[in-house]
């Protein structure tokens, strides 16, 4: 796939367009917006992508606009990673890329080709739950379960990063994963339990 970057000339032309439009506000706002949209958003382009997810190779045809999250959920039916905001604000879509926590809704699928990706579906080893998954069940670290895969992926990373010295530290480093049910008691307890092992 050809790497696409915006040229200096493109930047100058759109920014001068912006300056011109600002001068003419409000009459030309709509036209300006449409022009910008036309220039900024390339036509649909579908490419072949090669991804390594949960140690399995996938070759897929994907829209350049497709996020890793949408690819997982809509094309591969790996629906364990959740969409809670699509803006990187809630953490429900957290997966591991190269062993680090990443928001899959803010990651274009095309940008993580051939890098090891782990989703919640890949956390258990065969028929053995990961200790963090066990702890979440034991400590009732969820209610509705929708933020849970993201919480668990973050929790595993939080332990690995070593941010588990106190309740306060755990809470701080888990605050990128929102839980509207408010199951924070159990989430913290689960992480303490695994960190203590």
């Amino acid at each position: 796939m050809e790497k696409q970057t915006y040229s200096r000339r493109f930047f100058l032309s759109t920014s001068s367009m912006a300056a011109a439009a600002v001068a003419l506000i409000p009459g030309n706002v709509k036209a300006f917006y449409k022009n910008v949209k036309k220039r900024f958003i390339p036509a649909k382009s579908v490419n072949t992508l090669s991804l390594t997810i949960n140690q399995k190779q996938y070759t897929v045809q994907a829209d350049t606009r497709t996020t890793l999250l949408d690819l997982l959920r809509e094309q591969l039916q790996l629906t364990g990673s959740k969409k809670g905001c699509d803006h990187g604000q809630c953490g429900a879509c957290t997966v591991h890329v190269n062993g680090e926590r990443v928001l899959s809704c803010l990651t274009l699928a095309a940008l993580v080709q051939n890098q090891p990706i782990t989703t919640i579906e890949g956390l258990a080893e065969g028929d053995q739950l990961h200790p963090m998954q066990q702890a979440f069940i034991e400590c009732d670290g969820f209610q509705c379960g929708y933020c849970t895969p993201g919480q668990i992926m973050s929790a595993v990373a939080c332990v690995k990063e070593g941010h588990t010295h106190s309740v306060e530290e755990i809470k701080e480093f888990m605050s990128g994963n929102l839980c509207r049910c408010g199951a924070y008691n159990g989430i913290v307890e689960s992480i303490q339990k695994v960190a203590a092992r």
Binding site: Q89, D140, Q143, G182
Partner: protein, 738 residues
């Protein structure tokens, strides 16, 4: 695929919720996660004005986008029989008649629906929709509008205002609460699939599948049995799934239009706009007490926002009529129509808002009277009888909740006067408040299928929105039948299962526990009937005579006249045994009043230079009758308290007063409590059964955890700082300027 069968086989799962493995492995399917062959995607485009009419909609650009299949607008749509004309639309009581009107009632109201091959195509095309409007003046400023709306009596006045006009101790103040939004983590979504011209399958996020089924049977004029609604895993509700919202109808229309399965997932900003919210409110409370601290009178007035196309009444003053013994009570309410979408029930609806004002007022009186807020409440609680109906409470232990909570937080450490306790720049304060909720119960059915090996599956249409209903059903079935928990499977959240009401208003477990108990009895009766063919002892047996185990049936005591299920099935030539039974409230409702309650205690630290509030400790003690599952129940309460922290300190949906836009309508702009905003919440229960309400003795816990919670926090802030703050949320600026 069934709720608790779609788990991968794991061998090291600890004991927990029945659906625990499905949730921690990501295998549980939520509404948007099903896949139907040939499925396409729909995305809604909204109006750019808040009030007026549509002159024209421009869809040409959107149509040219590759992958677009069709675009629905009010001028191009499939026929919905129940909305065929204006009269039918009105009769349908559907709320917003989406794509059936050219009227614009609020900004962002769906005006077009793009159906395309992929989500990306549909999203891009929807961004190209534009429209021309005739704009009329929009009314979105609640603060400006409410004073002009006359108040109406809400309930019968008790006593008279004259009787306490000269009460020696009085507190009078106005309180406001900003517009709050449910925001369950799972965004509302519908997959609509017409399997035949009059046969519809829906995967939908809601709190009541039968409600969705009935709604669309009516609108599409087809038998309810032709509509199957799946909502097996529901990613939170908090009230937002109690109504059937426009997007659900939109998805069904789209599926009809293109004759393919259609998936429609709301975006997070659309969640703020199209699935309800807790209305913005104004309250005025005046309360009086005699010199001894007995409450003598209460005037509670409330107004809250609603939409211009529907009236929604939250019932804010209801709580004033149930908690304390007060001879003179007057409550008045009104709703204020605005160019906003319609609000709806949000966790602890009405009472949550009302309790904030009333419990802060009680706190103010306690300082005036120089009486401890704990003692003052204990003195005035209506602990034996419901002041509204006059009936005795079936069980009511709010006094015990208060006493236990005070002990758990070390209330005696609290200094009586505000502003006395400091740690450097931090001011320390203690506060408390109470919450109550009418404990309801509905009619529900449940079924059991038994296999030859004694394994049973308990089935009901009721949803489990994260409350632990499925686990509770398993616990109750285990208790009633004696069959081991690992031999009890649960099926729920499907409209083809035995019908049940929506899960809401803390009635879920109270309602379904009766049906499960009745069905367990029906199973015993049916098995006894088969047993009678082999052993005369079982003739004319009552359910109470029957003892079941994992392997067989016995008479009165385990092992007595034992017959193995295998033998029973073989002799009677059975493959399965099926029973179904219903249960609902009865005469006990005439005799008693029912309530759940909670006492909230809070220790806060307020930074005197920045106004930052840290909740240092939070204790909630609840009376919800018998606790069926301790872990899930404690989780319910602590989760509700986290919601209460949000309500008290951060949750507010701002609105642009000129154009009617929501401001910051995503999870970065709208703050609710994150992990670090909440301490580890301490929860305790009274755990005494209410034997009259239902066979399980459980009264319901979903609401009381949040009702009164914000007041406890705000009262603690007063105790820390001496600043009485009456507008939620109490953000740092209000503390510094207060």
């Amino acid at each position: 695929m069934r709720f608790f069968e779609n788990q991968p086989a794991v061998t090291n799962a600890p004991e927990g919720r029945v659906e625990g493995v499905a949730k921690v492995t990501g295998s549980g399917k939520y509404a948007a996660e099903y896949h139907a062959g040939n499925m396409c995607y729909a995305v809604m485009a909204g109006s750019t004005i808040a009030s007026g009419t549509i002159k024209s909609i421009h869809t040409t650009d959107a149509r040219q986008v590759a992958g677009v299949l069709d675009i629905i607008t009010h001028t191009r749509k499939p026929l919905v029989p129940g909305m065929a004309d204006a009269a039918k639309i009105k009769e349908s009581r559907f709320g917003l008649p989406v794509f059936h009107t050219d009227n614009i009632y609020f900004k962002g109201q769906p005006i077009a629906l793009v159906i395309a091959e992929t989500l990306e195509d549909a999203t891009y095309a929807a961004s190209l929709i534009s429209a021309e409007y005739t704009t009329t003046e929009a009314k979105v400023d609640f603060d400006k509008a409410h004073a002009a709306v006359p108040l109406n009596a809400a309930g019968k006045e008790r006593g008279s205002a004259d009787a306490w006009r000269d009460a020696p101790y009085q507190s009078e103040a106005e309180y406001t609460i900003e517009h709050e939004v449910h925001n369950p983590m799972e965004m509302h979504a519908t997959i609509a699939h017409w399997e035949g011209p009059d046969k519809l399958k829906l995967y939908d996020k809601n709190q009541g599948v039968n409600n969705v089924q009935r709604t669309f049977a009516r609108l599409w004029n087809i038998p309810a049995d032709n509509i199957e609604v799946f909502s097996e895993f529901v990613g939170g509700g908090f009230g937002s799934g109690l109504r059937v919202w426009p997007h659900c109808l939109a998805a069904i229309m789209a599926a009809k239009q293109v004759n393919r399965p259609v998936k429609l997932v709301l975006t997070r900003p659309q969640m703020f706009l199209l699935t309800g919210y807790r209305p913005k409110s104004w309250q005025k409370v005046r309360m009086g007490a005699d010199a001894g601290g007995r409450f003598t009178g209460l005037l509670h007035q409330a107004r809250h926002s609603t939409s211009v196309y529907e009236s929604f009444n939250d019932g804010i003053t209801r709580i004033s009529r149930m908690v304390y013994n007060i001879s003179n009570v007057k409550t008045e309410q009104a709703t204020v129509p605005l160019n906003m979408s319609t609000p709806t029930w949000m966790r602890g609806p009405g009472d949550c808002s009302g309790a904030f004002a009333v419990e802060c007022t009680v706190d103010e009186l306690s300082y005036q009277l120089k009486q401890d807020p704990v003692a003052l409440r204990l003195k005035n609680l209506a602990i034996t009888h419901d002041p509204e109906s006059g009936k005795p409470w079936s069980t009511h232990y709010l006094n015990e909740c208060i006493e236990k909570g005070a002990a758990l937080i070390n209330w005696q450490q609290r200094k009586p006067l505000p502003g006395q306790d400091k740690e450097g720049d931090w001011a320390i304060g203690y506060g408390m408040a109470t919450g109550m909720w009418n404990a309801g119960r509905g009619n529900a059915s449940a079924g059991i299928t038994m296999q030859r090996d004694g394994a049973i599956t308990v089935k009901t249409a009721m949803t489990d929105i994260g409350t632990g209903t499925g686990t509770g059903i398993q616990n109750i079935a285990h208790e009633q039948t004696g069959i081991a928990k690992n031999k009890i499977k649960i099926e729920l959240g499907n409209s083809h299962l035995p019908p049940a009401p929506s899960q809401g208003g803390s009635t879920g477990l109270s309602t379904i526990s009766g049906a499960v108990a009745a069905t367990c009895n029906a199973l015993k009766q049916k098995l006894a009937g088969y047993a009678a063919a082999q052993d005369d002892t079982y003739k004319n047996a009552q359910a109470a005579d029957i003892v079941l185990s994992d392997t067989g049936i016995s008479w009165q005591t385990a092992g007595n006249h034992f017959i193995a299920y295998t033998s029973l099935f073989e002799k009677n030539n059975l493959t399965t045994v099926e029973v179904e039974a219903s249960s609902g409230p009865g005469a006990e409702r005439q005799q008693y009043a029912f309530c759940s309650s909670a006492a909230h205690f809070c220790r806060v630290k307020v930074h005197t230079k920045t106004g930052k509030v840290k909740i240092d400790k939070m204790v909630t003690v609840a009376d919800g009758g018998s606790i069926v599952n301790e872990k899930a129940a404690a989780n319910q309460i602590s989760g509700a308290v986290v919601g209460g922290i949000g309500m008290a300190l951060m949750e507010e949906q701002a609105t642009d007063q000129r154009y009617g836009s929501l401001i910051g309508n995503d999870l970065a702009g709208y703050h609710f409590a994150v992990n670090a905003d909440a301490p580890v919440i301490e929860v305790a229960f009274i755990n005494k059964p209410d034997k009259n309400i239902n066979p399980s003795g459980a009264k319901g816990l979903g609401e009381v955890g949040i009702i009164g919670c914000a007041a406890a926090i705000v009262n603690a802030i007063y105790h820390a700082t001496g600043k009485r703050l009456r507008s939620l949320p109490v953000t740092p600026d209000k503390i510094l300027l207060g």
